[in-house]
C-alpha cells in the first residue's frame, strides 16, 4: 500500500532559523517516516506566493529582530491572509519565538518601533530591555492529561494573549510568554505558538506526534492514525532537563 503523504511547509527558512529550528524539521520528517508516512518538505521563501491550504503542517522558526522587520512586509502583503485562512481551516502549525510573535497583531520594540503583523491570533508582543534566557519547563493539558514540555527560551519580547486564547501551558520553571503571568505559548485549533526552542520537538516527541496526528486528521478525516514509537532516548533527554531544572 502506498504510504500516506504528509506535506510539511517551512516558512522563511533562510531568515527564520535561529536557535536550531532546523531540528524541528528534521524531527517532523524522521518521525513521519518512522510512522510509515511519506513526508515532503517545501520551503516557502521571501517574495514567493503560497497557498497554505495545500500544506498539512507548517513550521515557522525564530529570527533575529532585524531579520524579522525585513520579512514583516512580505508577511503582511503576500502571505498573511492565506495563512490566516488555513489556520482557521485547521492547518497544523508550529510557530517558535519570532514565528510565534508574527501570528499576533504587532511587535513593539523597546525603542518604540512598531512592527505590524496581520493579527491572525489575538495576541501581541512588547519588547523588553532584559532578555529572558534559560531552560524552561512547562505543564500542558494538550495531550489528554497533564504532560511536561521542556526547552530553552531566549527572547526579549513579552507576549500577551487576548481573552479567548488558551496558553500552551503553565510555567513550572522559566519565564514563558512574558515572565509575569506564568503562561507559556498559545494553542488555537491545530496551531501551537511557543517561545521554547532547544530544538523543542526532539525532546518533546509527544508534541511532535500531536502535530503530525492533527495534520493527518485534517487531510485524511481520521482514516490515518499513527502508532507509538520507541522514544526511550528522547524521554531520557526530556527527563534529564526536568531532573536538573524542573519541578
Amino acid at each position: 500500500m502506498e504510504r500516506p503523504r504528509i506535506h510539511i511547509g517551512w516558512l522563511y527558512p533562510e531568515y527564520m532559523n535561529l536557535y536550531g529550528d532546523r531540528g524541528n524539521i528534521i524531527v517532523l520528517t524522521q518521525r513521519s517516516r518512522w510512522h510509515g508516512l511519506a513526508p515532503v518538505v517545501t520551503q516557502v521563501r521571501l517574495g514567493e506566493t503560497a497557498d497554505f491550504a495545500q500544506f498539512d503542517l507548517l513550521m515557522m522558526g525564530g529570527g533575529q529582530d532585524r531579520e524579522q522587520s525585513l520579512i514583516a512586509d512580505d508577511f503582511m502583503k503576500v502571505k498573511g491572509s492565506s495563512l490566516g485562512d488555513a489556520i482557521e481551516d485547521g492547518l497544523a502549525v508550529l510557530a517558535v519565538c519570532g514565528g510565534y510573535q508574527m501570528l499576533g497583531k504587532y511587535f513593539k520594540t523597546h525603542t518604540g518601533e512598531m512592527i505590524r503583523f496581520t493579527g491572525i491570533l489575538d495576541l501581541w508582543t512588547e519588547g523588553g530591555k532584559e532578555r529572558m534566557i534559560g531552560n524552561c519547563v512547562v505543564e500542558s493539558d494538550l495531550f489528554g492529561g497533564t504532560r511536561t514540555i521542556v526547552g530553552f527560551e531566549n527572547h526579549s519580547g513579552r507576549t500577551y494573549l487576548g481573552k479567548g486564547l488558551r496558553p500552551l501551558g503553565r510555567v513550572v520553571k522559566g519565564y514563558g510568554n512574558n515572565g509575569a503571568d506564568r503562561t507559556e505559548g498559545v494553542v488555537y485549533k491545530n496551531t501551537v505558538g511557543t517561545y521554547l526552542h532547544g530544538s523543542i520537538l526532539p525532546k518533546n516527541p509527544h508534541l511532535a506526534d500531536w502535530l503530525i496526528q492533527r495534520a493527518l486528521d485534517r487531510r485524511y478525516g481520521g482514516e490515518v492514525k499513527i502508532g507509538k514509537l520507541n522514544d526511550d532516548l528522547e524521554m531520557r533527554a526530556h527527563e534529564a532537563i526536568i531532573a536538573r531544572f524542573g519541578r
Binding site: 532559523n17 528534521i26 532578555r131 534566557i133 526532539p202 532516548l233 531520557r236
Partner: protein, 464 residues
C-alpha cells in the same frame, strides 16, 4: 606604578603561585582579586609594552590566531606577554599581564597580545587601548550569552572605538559582518581575505550566518565561497560588496590531515608558507595572524617563520599518544567548527571510534540547540566506518537524540554522563594501534584533559 598597583601585582603573583601549587590553572582568580585592590591595574600594565597591545577577537579561531601571532612576534625577536591559556575575560587578561610583570610591576616584553572574548571587548579595549585589533569572523555561537549575532558584532564595534591613537582594525574582508565594522572605525582598516576560486562547497542550507546583505537584507550573490558564509559577496540590490584585501592568500594546496601550504601576499611582497595545523579554517587563522603582524610592521620573513613554527593549540586539534593507543582531541563549540571537525575525522581511512562530550556551562554556551545546525547527517552517512559513539557530558542525552535523528543506528550509541568514565570506556573498547576521537565542548575538554594529564601524557594546560 603606584604603591597600590604594585601591591595588587604582588597579591596577584602570590595567588598565581598558590593556585598552581594547589594544582589548578589559576588563570582568572589572581586577576580578579588584584583588580579589587587596584581597579586601574590592567590599564597601567597594558600601557607598558613598547610595541603596544594587539587584541584578537571574533567567534572562531581566536586562540589559534593569537598563538600564530605570538610565534611571529618571537620570530621577529619581540618578547610577548600573552594570555595563552585562553582565559579571555577581563580577569584573565589581567592575570596574563600580572604574570608577565616582575615584582616591581614592570613588564619588559615588547608586545602585549590578548585574545579577548567578544562581550568583553568594550571594557577591555577601554582599559588596554590596543594598537591593533584582529577580528577573525562572526558565527552564531553561544547565543544565550550574546542574544543575537547583531549584538556580538556591535560589541566588537564598541571595542574598536577605543583603539590607541593611530591604531588599526584588522578585518576579515570575506565575512560581511566583520568587514562592515570597517565603516565605523577611525583610520583606514587593514583587510585580509582569500583571492582564490571557491575552495569548498561553502554555505550549507541552515547554518550560514550572513547570506543576506548586512546593509539592506537582500540575498548576496557570491562569486566564490570558501568556508561557511565566508567568500566573495556582492549585494545586487544596494551594491554593498566585499572590500579588496591588502593581505591575502592567492593559492592553497597540499591540504591534508597534517597541514597545508599557502601563498601569502602582503604589501611587503609574497611568500609560500607550510602550515603544520590541518584544516582550511586554519589557513584563515594564519591569514588573520599575518595581517595582524603586517599592522604591527613586522617583516615578512618573521611572518613566514612564525606561522611555520606554530603547532596545534591545546585540545583544539591534537594527537596524544597513550601507550599503544592514540587519542585525537578536537574542541567543538559551534556548527561551523563542528562541521570542519567531522570532515577531518571522516577523511581518515581507519574505522572510527568516538566520544562526544557536550557540557552546557557558561563557557560552553548554556543553550545547546546549535547541535541541530551541525551536519551530523554527514557522519551518519558513513556509519559503516564507525564502531561506536559514546555520548557524554551534561547534555549526553541531547547528543544521542541528535545522532538518532541524523540517522545513526541506535545500537552504535551509548550514554555515559561522566566524561572521565566515557574516555576510559572508549580506551577499553579500542585495540592496540587504534585511534579514539574525542570531541568535547570547552569545559568538557578541561575535564578530559585532567585525566589525560594525570596519566602523565600531556602538559598541564597553563604550561602550553
Amino acid at each position: 606604578m603606584n604603591l597600590r598597583s604594585r601591591l595588587a601585582v604582588w597579591m596577584g603573583k602570590g595567588l598565581v603561585t598558590a593556585t598552581r601549587v594547589a594544582g589548578r590553572g589559576g588563570t582568572t582568580l589572581p586577576g580578579a582579586v588584584a583588580r579589587k585592590v587596584a581597579p586601574d591595574l590592567l590599564r597601567s600594565l597594558a600601557a607598558q609594552p613598547r610595541e603596544g597591545v594587539v587584541a584578537v577577537t571574533g567567534t572562531n579561531g581566536k586562540t589559534t590566531t593569537a598563538k600564530m601571532l605570538s610565534s611571529i612576534c618571537e620570530a621577529a625577536g619581540l618578547g610577548v606577554a600573552h594570555n595563552r591559556a585562553g582565559a579571555n575575560l577581563i580577569a584573565g587578561l589581567t592575570t596574563a599581564f600580572i604574570q608577565a610583570a616582575n615584582w616591581t610591576g614592570r613588564i619588559d616584553r615588547a608586545v602585549g597580545l590578548l585574545e579577548i572574548d567578544e562581550a568583553t571587548m568594550p571594557q577591555a579595549c577601554k582599559e588596554v587601548r590596543p594598537r591593533a585589533v584582529v577580528v577573525t569572523n562572526f558565527f552564531r555561537d553561544q547565543l544565550d550569552r550574546f542574544g543575537e549575532l547583531e549584538q556580538t558584532v556591535s560589541l566588537v564595534g564598541r571595542g574598536l572605538e577605543h583603539l590607541a591613537p593611530g591604531g588599526r582594525a584588522v578585518l576579515n574582508a570575506d565575512d560581511p559582518n566583520c568587514a562592515r565594522l570597517g565603516q565605523q572605525v577611525g583610520g583606514e582598516p587593514l583587510y585580509y581575505g582569500f583571492e582564490v576560486p571557491s575552495v569548498s562547497g561553502g554555505a550549507r542550507n541552515g547554518a550560514s550566518d550572513a547570506r543576506h546583505c548586512v546593509q539592506c537584507g537582500h540575498p548576496y550573490e557570491y562569486s566564490a565561497l570558501h568556508y561557511a558564509h565566508l567568500g566573495k559577496y556582492r549585494c545586487p540590490a544596494c551594491g554593498h560588496r566585499r572590500p579588496r584585501p591588502k593581505v591575502y592568500v592567492d593559492r592553497v594546496w597540499d591540504v591534508d590531515a597534517r597541514g597545508s601550504a599557502l601563498r601569502l601576499v602582503t604589501p611587503q611582497g609574497a611568500c609560500e608558507v607550510r602550515l603544520q595545523i590541518p584544516g582550511l579554517y586554519n589557513v584563515y587563522n594564519a591569514l588573520a595572524a599575518a595581517a595582524g603582524a603586517v599592522a604591527l610592521g613586522l617583516p615578512l620573513a618573521a611572518i613566514k617563520q612564525g606561522l611555520e613554527a606554530t603547532t596545534s593549540q591545546f585540545g583544539r586539534m591534537e594527537l596524544i599518544t597513550m601507550g599503544d593507543r592514540q587519542v585525537f582531541m578536537a574542541l567543538v563549540k559551534n556548527p561551523a567548527g563542528f562541521d570542519s571537525v567531522i570532515q577531518t575525522v571522516m577523511q581518515a581511512a581507519a574505522r572510527k571510534n568516538l566520544v562526544i562530550a557536550i557540557n552546557d556551562q557558561y563557557a560552553d554556551g548554556t543553550d545547546i540547540s546549535w547541535l541541530w545546525d551541525v551536519d551530523f547527517e554527514a557522519l551518519a552517512g558513513h556509519q559503516d566506518e564507525i564502531n561506536f559513539v559514546i555520548c557524554t557530558g551534561q547534555r549526553a542525552e541531547d547528543m544521542a537524540v541528535r545522532l538518532k535523528y541524523a540517522g545513526m543506528d541506535v545500537a552504535k550509541l551509548s550514554i555515559e554522563k561522566d566524561p572521565e568514565l566515557a574516555v576510559k570506556q572508549g580506551l577499553r573498547y579500542i585495540q592496540a594501534g587504534d585511534l579514539l576521537y574525542i570531541l568535547p565542548t570547552y569545559t568538557a575538554m578541561l575535564q578530559i584533559r585532567g585525566i589525560i594529564a594525570r596519566k602523565g601524557h600531556t602538559k598541564k594546560y597553563w604550561e602550553v
